[in-house]
Symmetry: C2
């Protein structure tokens, strides 16, 4: 069942091979589609889309989706969660009552708020995005005109790694044998869950209560091997194991998950609820007096997900692996009914159900020689109730993708790849610490009073919920010092222990004070600015599309002040010079903004400035398109969307301005003085690769002056102007 872009060859080569087409694998493929990297992505499962598997999308995840152009699709289809209602036993009567309300997403931390959406829809957005963009970016690569396609029913069966080639930029040190499965093999069996055979889907095949089925698939596969197209060998420069908690790639590498399971078992029901519980469309944390807890997650299409603590009646084996035969929708619902009484809850339609045991584990290593990487559930497992699972997995790959792409393309050296483990393993460690604390508070029995030391204080629970919300939003991520994060301090301590500083002589330290609210190591916050040329308001993040480019953002200050204008002109001259880092690190023939894009935001009045007040490097010239009107912005009031007040919110001096360097994933690398060209150059020199010089550089510079001066002779075309007036020549 070969569903890939190519029929299986005996041998083929790719830049990147991705094992697993869940959220982490798809995010990786999505990055590759933007960067034009020859990529295959395979998944042992068939194409059938299953119910369930919905998850919260953090506001940071929505920011990332938006940077790829499909944030609005999730935003429109998802259910929005605005408020968390806390229900606890009344101290007098023991009957549950609403004791508190808190906003679900902390106001003003993002332009998005947390939402919930079916994972199948999210996969759809990825598939559309991967297909559209890979066809565009790979259209000139022989054999890849069809772009990147997800290949289902394909699984790796053997693997070799030639360590001697690990540091050779152009080598293919990885060799993997892939087997093409039959449709039947690739479709997981789902438990018969319905008493009347109506076939509600359950998620046990992906749950941790279900055994790893890799071996089973492998054995079945032997019989059908020849019939289904057999095996092929793929050589790859890089490989990502995004193949879930039972990761085949992780097992091949001999890496381990470290951590432990707890005794708590939870059931999950996705139902259209029939209830008199008044907060059923709110996210709720319900602690009953002695029957356990329920979390309510309202979903799209009238569905509600209930996470229901299963009491020891369902877990007779002493808190170890549960007997799945005793868990079914009826027993899970009965638990919910006990917890939520005196309110009634029942359903006529159940969309999906599952059960799981809470465990928190992190992989001991995320990478083999920075050639093979692991992401997502393959390297961290935790409870789903904090709504982190899919988000953290996608963000792993969002962190990794641009790094691998820039090394494959030869614009960055391999030193940046070590930052993946440093940054993301640390996040995974923080995540399971958070999850451990949160799960304990959520699974415990409420304290009867202050003397009840075994019970959980509901005040403590609320505080943890509020604090956890910031963590869960994804915007609190703060990457440590590294070759791509110019901050002070101990790189190993700020990360997972890996050393990622690069050459000491090229280390740059930010001057955080120039932009006190643009924290180095954190994602760039977003406030509204206006395009100078057409007055359109944009959220600043909307300018930071995920296309693999770095950004130098010049907050130019008040350029109507002559001294500040002189500083801007001085910077413009250095940036525009043939020896500038903008030129040195951009491959010959590539567009001026393909490696480093220069954006600017000034603070003068919009109506007193035009783009022609800026040096040419801030509004680059193109022979076909003329000036680039989409680089210069202003922090001024808009007609319809108020005032973003960007300088103030970013903590930037309106007169003097500042400069920022932003990574391709919107994280802040460097903050410094507006015209500190030397620090900028040194920073990029730390990991970027010098490109051959462009012979025709002088011609481009000449072109820039073509129509930049007014000329009162309006009919004659200056001799230096090569543009064809009227009809296009080509």
């Amino acid at each position: 069942m070969a569903q890939g872009p190519r029929a299986p060859d005996a041998h083929s080569e790719v830049d990147v091979l991705i094992i697993g087409a869940g959220p982490a694998g798809l995010m990786m493929a999505n990055w590759m589609s933007r960067c034009g990297i020859r990529t295959r992505i395979v998944d042992k499962r068939g194409t059938k889309i299953f119910n369930g598997q919905a998850d919260g999308l953090q506001c940071r995840t929505l920011e990332i989706f938006d940077s790829f152009g499909f944030g609005h699709r999730a935003w429109i289809e998802a259910n929005h969660m605005l408020e968390i209602c806390l229900w606890n036993p009344d101290p007098q009567t023991g009957i549950i009552h609403r004791s508190d309300r808190i906003p679900d997403t902390i106001p003003n931390i993002s332009r998005f708020q947390q939402v919930v959406l079916h994972q199948g829809r999210i996969e759809r957005f990825f598939l559309d995005s991967i297909s559209e963009h890979s066809k565009r970016t790979l259209k000139d690569v022989p054999g890849w005109q069809g772009g990147i396609k997800v290949e289902h029913g394909v699984m790796p069966v053997s693997f070799q790694f030639d360590e001697s080639l690990a540091d050779d930029q152009d080598a293919y040190p990885i060799t993997v044998t892939l087997r093409h499965l039959s449709e039947q093999e690739a479709t997981p069996k789902q438990s018969a869950t319905s008493v009347n055979g109506s076939g509600i889907q359950d998620g046990l095949f992906r749950s941790n209560l279900s055994p790893d089925d890799t071996q089973e698939l492998l054995e079945k596969s032997k019989k059908l091997r020849e019939k289904e197209g057999g095996e092929e060998t793929v050589r790859a420069k890089y490989m990502l194991g995004a193949d879930g908690a039972h990761s085949w790639v992780r097992n091949q590498l001999g890496f381990k998950l470290q951590g432990e399971s707890t005794d708590y078992i939870w059931g999950v029901l996705d139902i259209i609820p029939i209830t008199d519980f008044p907060d059923i469309r709110m996210r709720c944390a319900i602690h009953s007096e002695s029957s356990g807890s329920v979390m309510v997650i309202p979903r799209e299409n009238k569905l509600v997900r209930l996470y229901i603590q299963l009491t020891t009646t369902e877990n007779e084996e002493g808190g170890k692996r549960a007997d799945r035969s005793k868990i079914n929708p009826e027993t899970i619902l009965a638990s919910a009914q006990r917890i939520m009484r005196p309110y009634k809850i029942e359903y006529r339609y159940c969309d999906w159900w599952t059960a799981y045991q809470i465990g928190q584990r992190v992989g001991d290593s995320f990478s083999l020689k920075e050639r093979i990487f692991l992401a997502g559930d393959a390297v961290h497992t935790h409870s789903p109730k904090a709504g982190q699972g899919m988000n953290v997995s996608m963000q792993d790959a969002f962190n990794l993708g641009w790094k691998v792409a820039s090394v494959v393309k030869g614009t960055s050296n391999r030193s940046i790849l070590k930052t993946y483990q440093s940054e993301r393993r640390r996040i995974a460690q923080d995540l399971i610490d958070f999850d451990h604390r949160f799960s304990r508070l959520f699974s415990g029995r409420p304290a009867k009073d202050v003397l009840d030391e075994e019970g959980i204080s509901m005040e403590e629970f609320k505080n943890a919920f509020e604090k956890g919300n910031l963590f869960a939003s994804g915007v609190a991520v703060d990457y440590g010092a590294s070759v791509v994060v110019a901050k002070s301090g101990d790189s190993a301590k700020q990360g997972d222990g890996t050393e990622v500083l690069g050459e000491e002589k090229l280390r740059v330290i930010s001057s955080q004070a120039f932009a006190s609210e643009v924290k180095v190591g954190m994602r760039m916050p977003s406030f509204k600015v206006l395009n100078q040329a057409d007055a359109r308001p944009w959220h600043f993040q909307e300018l930071l599309r995920s296309n693999g480019t770095w950004r130098l953002v010049v907050f130019a200050g008040d350029i109507t002040e002559p001294a500040q204008k002189a500083r801007l002109d001085g910077l413009g001259e250095k940036l525009g010079a043939a020896t500038s880092f903008l030129k040195r690190f951009t491959p010959p023939g590539a567009r001026y903004d393909s490696v480093i894009e220069v954006l600017s935001v000034h603070s003068a009045k919009r109506q007193e400035v035009t783009i022609f007040d800026f040096p040419e490097v801030f509004r680059p010239w193109d022979d076909g398109d003329g000036w680039d009107y989409w680089k210069i912005h202003v922090d001024d009031v808009s007609y319809h969307e108020g005032y973003g007040d960007a300088y103030r919110n970013y903590g930037i001096d309106r007169a003097r301005g500042c400069a920022l360097i932003l990574r391709p994933d919107q994280y802040v690398s460097w903050v410094g003085d507006m015209d500190d060209y030397e620090s900028m150059d040194k920073f990029f020199s730390g990991f970027m690769v010098e490109q051959p010089q462009q012979a025709s550089e002088a011609v481009g510079a000449e072109g820039i002056s073509r129509v930049s001066l007014k000329d009162t002779d309006d009919t004659a075309i200056p001799a230096t102007n090569g543009a064809v007036v009227g009809v296009a020549a080509a």
Copy 2:
């Protein structure tokens, strides 16, 4: 070349036949797709999509798109226009300079602002929408499971109307013969416009400088008739002629366009400009001293449209039909260069060009016996520069569609159909008056000083522009008194002269003072409210999806006040009764909100109320879905999007509230007291059709009480509760 859902039959029957698949025709088909009406839409042109044909989308048009679920697609892809820059000759030097800036869309009149987008994209949104929704609504109609498809290369050739059947609800009085053209016939010839054969597309085939080609197509067609599938006969209940300025339908009916042409000839260029003109990404009105005027319309994909006045050099025949051989991109550009000097403008890429002569004309009739209607360019022509063409055409069909659909479905009687001509012919008359004044001001020579009486005062021009902007936004439309607009005054005078009041004894007059800013006859303004059940903020218009339903909106006031709560309960009792208009006008078996949806917005604190404080009719029960959580809203502060302050903005008393009736197209029919049930009933009785009574009414009422009361017996299921607990029965 049969592209329709069915192969051509000798004879077939449809509810609605639409001639012409331009913006008006597509809007009509789109309405039909939402309402499940058997519809065919044919266009004599082939499927090829042409460049050019971009147009501004008014904010009202975007509101309409949003009501159909694709507003965001236009909003994301379009170029947004924020500011208009006025350029005039300097009184001293005669050189053009920027004399003024005004916002393009008046702030706060809509949640959208005017944008520009290629018509091909807009057609794509319609086609996707028609396909998706017609498959859903027609899935149970034999022969129509494929939904509604636009049939290109199909033109009407003869026509019969049986006037004796006009008033028979179920009759098919219209018979049309359709001919299926060959691909070649259906593709219009475009002028060879490029000196080097590079094939820039021009729009002259659709311009009014181009002769009507219907006859030509017809003659060519004779030869190929048999080869291409020949002819078929279609009988229709209703027909829409949306077939453009040379409308075949209008000609068959013998209706005339009344009005006149002017001498002004304008050229249009869609180019990627290479220029030093600083406002090229703004909408600009440039008046030169003596070379004419240019309007600049910045577009998507770096394009800019220039409307360029062509001086008499290009128009030697004395202002009559121009010699098209002398108009080409080079001569048009040369005119622009003369007008815009001392700035330079040229291009390397020209996407499209055309030329047209300004004319303002309105049809003498929009309808034959309310069975055949005309819309769009078929009944009004005017200059394109005010950005009105596509908008007014689509809004014609937006006005008509729900009326025809509700008559076909048997929920409304035929009296409402007369309001189409009354409402839309009046709008067309207002439009050409506006366009006439505006074109004169734009085409004239600027006055040299106050004594220059032949010249145009630039102050007067600016005032007209600002005033025109409100008109052009589309939100100022104010429909006159009629059977569906309960306002006082003379119905004929408020419309186009047609009498549309219906039965005098059923006439209702609004009490505008209950909601002073919700003007009867105008579209419902939009402010933010929160869903009571989940606290999500919605723009009120987002709740008013275009699905053919009427809305009764109850602004319930402060329902924590006992007297107000009593009024609400009283209203709820009447609305919930078996004799209520909600029941009488809803067909048996149809969903409770399929004809009239009840929405409410209260003004108490959100956190002090639950949906169970409202009578059941405001949160209807469904046996499968439980309570409807999406009907009750509150005017309160949100966590992330501020405070909509809806009551204040609508001019409604927070304590006492009010009630509104909104048409399916969001126009306000009636404003009155919150519990004035009698006026509501009388209003709907004026045009709605009584449906057979539902035998099982009592069962539904019983169902409502199922889980509406708390019961401390939490495990036993009450005997009256028929819901299957646990797994779904079906």
